[in-house]
C-alpha cells in the first residue's frame, strides 16, 4: 500500500481546514482552539496541523495535511511538505497585504517549489477584488515563478476539486 501527501498551506483564516473538510473521507482530525486574536474574524484557529485522508480504489491513500497558519509554526512546513504530491497555497484576499502573505509562503517553500507541483487559490475575491489575480501572477513572475493562480471558495467542494485537478495536470505534464 502506498501513501501520498497533499499539503494545504496559507495564512490563518484562508480556509485550509475548510478545504480539507470538504474532501476528506474520514472526519478530519483538527487541532483547533478558541481564537483569542481579535483581528481574526473566526471562533477557532488551528494550532497544530489538520489531517484528512482519501482512500483510493487499489488501497493506496492520499493523506491531506493542513499546515498551521501562524508563522511561529513554520518549522513544521518543511517536514510536512517532504515528498508531497502537491502544495496548495490558500490566500485570503481580505487581509491587509495578501501579496506579502503570498511571498511568505513562496519563500517558506522556495526549495520545494522547484520540484513539487503547486497552485495558488485566492479566496474572498468576490468581496475583495484587489489585488487581482493578474497582480498575483506579476508578483510570482518577479520571483521567477510560474504558478497557476485561481479564485476559489473552499466551502465549495468543486473549487477544491479544481485545485487538485490543476495539481494532477501539472504532474502529468512532468511525466511526458
Amino acid at each position: 500500500m502506498k501513501e501520498y501527501k497533499l499539503v494545504f498551506t496559507g495564512t490563518t483564516g484562508a480556509g485550509k481546514t475548510t478545504a480539507i473538510t470538504a474532501i476528506s473521507e474520514a472526519p478530519p482530525v483538527k487541532t483547533d482552539v478558541t481564537n483569542t486574536d481579535e483581528t481574526l474574524n473566526k471562533k477557532s484557529t488551528t494550532v497544530g496541523l489538520d489531517f484528512g485522508q482519501i482512500n483510493l480504489a487499489n488501497g493506496d491513500r492520499l493523506r491531506l495535511f493542513g499546515t498551521p497558519g501562524q508563522t511561529r509554526f513554520d518549522f513544521m512546513w518543511k517536514i510536512l511538505v517532504k515528498d508531497a504530491f502537491g502544495i496548495i497555497i490558500l490566500i485570503d484576499n481580505s487581509r491587509p497585504n495578501p501579496l506579502d502573505d503570498l511571498n511568505l509562503y513562496i519563500d517558506g517553500f522556495k526549495q520545494e517549489l522547484l520540484t513539487i507541483p503547486c497552485v495558488v487559490g485566492v479566496g474572498r475575491t468576490e468581496t475583495h477584488a484587489y489585488p487581482s489575480l493578474d497582480e498575483y501572477s506579476n508578483a510570482l513572475e518577479k520571483l521567477n515563478l510560474i504558478l497557476p493562480v485561481i479564485s476559489v471558495d473552499v466551502r465549495n467542494t468543486e473549487d477544491v476539486n479544481m485545485l487538485i485537478s490543476i495539481l494532477m495536470a501539472q504532474t502529468e505534464a512532468e511525466l511526458i
Partner: protein
C-alpha cells in the same frame, strides 16, 4: 485518419459487454477512438483475471490489461471497478492511449527540429476565460517547455487548437520559444512513472474528475 484502438474482453456477460460498447460509442471524451472487438489483435483487454490464455485475442506490443475488481479490492495496475462508472473506464482508456503515445518507439527517422514553447508568466484571467480548455494548456506549460505534440498528447485537443492557444500567448507577449533538436530514441517508461500514472488515474476516478 488514425486507426481505431481495439479493446478486447474476456469473461464478461452480455450486459457488461453492451455497457462497455455503449461507453466507447457515445463518450465525447473518447471521441470514437476505441472500438470493442471480439477477437484478434487488441490494444487493451478487459478481464476479470490475469489469465494466461487470452485466446481468441492477441495483445499488441505495449497493450495493457484492465482488470475488473470490486470497489475496495486492490490491484497493481489498470482497473475497472464494480459497480461500474462510465467515466472511470473513459479515464483508464485515455491514460492507456496517452501512455502508448509517450512510449511508442521512433525508429530510424532523422532528427527533427521542433519548437519548444513556455510561459513567461501565468496568463491573465481574461485570456484563460476565453475558452474552457485554455487553463489546462497553461497548466501544462507552467511545468516546463513543451512542443505542440506534447500539448496535443496531454490535453487531447487538436493540433489546430493548441496552435491557436500558442498564437494567443505570442500575441500577448506571454510566450517563450526555443528550437531543440530531438533525437529519435526508443523510449521505455520507468516503473516510477507508471506508478505515478496509475496514482493519477485512481485519483481522477476517486474525485470523478476528467480534464479541467
Amino acid at each position: 485518419m488514425e486507426d481505431k484502438l481495439c479493446l478486447g474482453y474476456l469473461g464478461l456477460i452480455k450486459p457488461e459487454i453492451d455497457l462497455i460498447s455503449t461507453i466507447l460509442r457515445t463518450s465525447s471524451r473518447l471521441n470514437g477512438e476505441w472500438t470493442l472487438v471480439d477477437d484478434g489483435e487488441c490494444d487493451a483487454l478487459i478481464a476479470y483475471n490475469t489469465e494466461k490464455d487470452l485466446t481468441p485475442f492477441v495483445l499488441k506490443n505495449g497493450a495493457n490489461l484492465i482488470i475488473i475488481k470490486r470497489r475496495g479490492e486492490t490491484h497493481p495496475g489498470y482497473v475497472f471497478l464494480k459497480p461500474f462508472r462510465a467515466d472511470e473506464l473513459v479515464d483508464v482508456l485515455i491514460l492507456i492511449k496517452t501512455n502508448r503515445s509517450v512510449s511508442a518507439p521512433v525508429r530510424g527517422e532523422p532528427s527533427t527540429p521542433q519548437k519548444l514553447y513556455g510561459l513567461k508568466k501565468w496568463p491573465p484571467n481574461n485570456l484563460l476565460s476565453q475558452n474552457k480548455h485554455f487553463m489546462l494548456l497553461a497548466v501544462y506549460l507552467s511545468r516546463g517547455t513543451k512542443t505542440i505534440e506534447n500539448l496535443v498528447t496531454l490535453s487531447g485537443q487538436s493540433e489546430k487548437f493548441c496552435q491557436q492557444f500558442i498564437h494567443m500567448l505570442e500575441q500577448h507577449s506571454l510566450l517563450t520559444e526555443d528550437i531543440k533538436q530531438l533525437q529519435p530514441e526508443r523510449k521505455t517508461t520507468p516503473q516510477h512513472i507508471e506508478s505515478k500514472k496509475t496514482f493519477l488515474s485512481l485519483l481522477k476516478s476517486r474525485f470523478g474528475i476528467g480534464k479541467l
